[in-house]
Subunit: 204 residues, 4 copies
């Protein structure tokens, strides 16, 4: 297989890139100078060398010193350790950080589960989450389920809740989930009954 | 102008129908028998004869007896008259009724205003709304702004609130608006900062 | 059923209008004055009274005098009667007339057939087409299949061709179909192999 | 800047990848093992090492032996050297090869020009094209403009034609361009007048 085909095939596995776009990217790269290609290749190779998974919350973070095992949020003394927010993935942490609304800590679950999956545990960081709760549970006053308002988000929340039930009950934490209602930009006319119900019940 | 062109032009003025679809509809109608066309034409002509605008809430409703001046919701003794929900248009009432979540009364504003409009009052049923509040204000304990979570919905709510401020203050009613948060189906990754902020602050 | 529901149901049967848009149109009509509704209703009722199906080509045409049985194209002495173009529906005639490229005559088939349909003949004006060919066949030098480049267009062309084979062979007419190739606006990169093949073979 | 941000920024410059998708890809890569990342990085670095631009036609091709300076199509003795097809980019060559309709040679122009561009020559391989025509012109009997049916394709064809006019006239070659007409899948009802005109005039 030619290196054009090889690279096109590898790129087509990345999220959101189809076979046709993969080839367009390969031919685009061919028109770039070698230095540009080297920069991209090096950035890909360096990605994991210069990044660690936080031992506390599971987020990926840039390594500044090799002694670090915790991410910038986990080592930040100004974060409120009484709140823990459970998110699915790293970009969700970024979305909350960008909104500036939350000053507590996060835990990255690493995925979602579906209803009839056989071993959902394998894809979720449930053991590390329990370890986190054992270690920091005494400081905790609120545990926030911040999963998407989608069927897979709901099912994952239910699954995790079930799995953590005993642990969470043994701690005296309040459990919350993100508020449902009208998203910014929603027109009532096109809202589904579920959203209308939520928007009404959570009127303020 | 031929009757084909005339009808196509009239249909193209209806909401959501462009000139091309208008012609398709006309040629479709030509293939139907006369009885079908007559039924549609009669239903259009009868529409206003058999429908009234409720003197109380401004909704259109089917006339059952000519003595009626109020709609089925306004005459329903089981509706909770202590709540009034302000909506933009009739289909919004239908959306709430379909969700089954609300048992109070409605008021149909009839439109939205934009920020720099000259005479917004002309397009909104503000006088009838004041008359409603004069008449029923003493029974009222909650006034709910149920407008869309769009810029025009927000501006209209602000405009109406400003216009009604004194009246509402003179009554001892609580004022609420629909809750904001994640709409059903929203993925966190694609939610804007404003929605994330609302979803977090209104966590439950 | 209220007249609001009745009309919404009738409108939802028209091509391209769903139940939600149907209700929006009904509520829009309710805000219009009676005169506007009457104009639309009258235009619908008059549509068939003032329109005839041409006995020659099957097009719908506005009646100017009740003596007329043929459409403006069929009675036009400047149209080239040596060409006959077979189209699926009236809007296709309009598309050709708008392009100004064709000066021959049309025949409107009235529909398309699908491969496994039981009685395709019922939906196609094949008998009138044969009558047309009997009457005008001696003047004819070209018969043009102007059906869509879709599976149903192809299948219909094949079906009609098969049905007319003998008649067409008895006349000394050349048979043609619309040229295939790149549509205006097509990018090669996104063209399918079939279109590329046609565009190449019909290069000019 | 962290290596996460660096890579996200580099990826966001690739065709069809926005900033948000770039971050999703980075976090996806972080969940993959080092070997996978190394394979992608190596494929990017090797891309230009193992690929050459054909000295004849300008296509990128995999190097099998370092002696090669011409691509697999240009060295193929079975290709018909009497035809030359001018395409914009490498993926267009792939589209024609996939269709299996063409057995001549290609020339890759490397881009398109727009009407008011200052130095369009800089972005098009016009000098190499002239060199090709000098060298192979005597064998040539047909020169095919195979550019997209878009404004930029049309303008580029006009520009190249103008630039090559004298050269092409000095050779006795016929000049053609891809056929226009109905693309596979086109419905007549939605075709523009230009496409209808082409489809009619190129009926077959």
């Amino acid at each position: 297989m030619s290196s054009i085909d090889t690279l096109a095939e590898l790129l087509a596995k990345l999220p959101g890139i189809g076979p046709r776009q993969a080839r367009r990217i390969v031919y685009y790269l061919l028109t770039q100078n070698y230095h540009t290609l080297e920069r991209i290749a090096d950035a890909i190779k360096d990605l994991k060398k210069e990044t660690k998974k936080c031992v506390e919350c599971g987020r990926f973070f840039p390594i500044h010193s090799h002694a670090n095992t915790e991410c910038t949020i986990c080592v930040n003394p100004n974060r409120d350790t009484s709140k823990l927010m459970l998110v699915e993935k790293d970009v969700d942490v970024e979305a909350f950080e960008k909104s500036g609304v939350y000053d507590g800590k996060y835990f990255v679950l690493g995925g979602t589960v579906t209803l009839f999956e056989k071993n959902p545990k394998d894809r979720l960081a449930l053991l590390p989450l329990k370890k986190y709760l054992e270690k920091h549970g005494k400081d905790l006053s609120e545990f926030i389920f911040a999963l998407s308002a989608t069927p897979s988000g709901e099912e994952t929340a239910a699954y995790v809740f079930d799995d953590l039930k005993e642990v969470l009950e043994s701690l005296s934490v309040s459990i919350s989930k993100l508020g449902r209602g009208l998203s910014t930009g929603s027109e009532l006319e096109y809202a589904d009954s579920d959203t209308i119900k939520n928007a009404f019940e959570r009127r303020q």
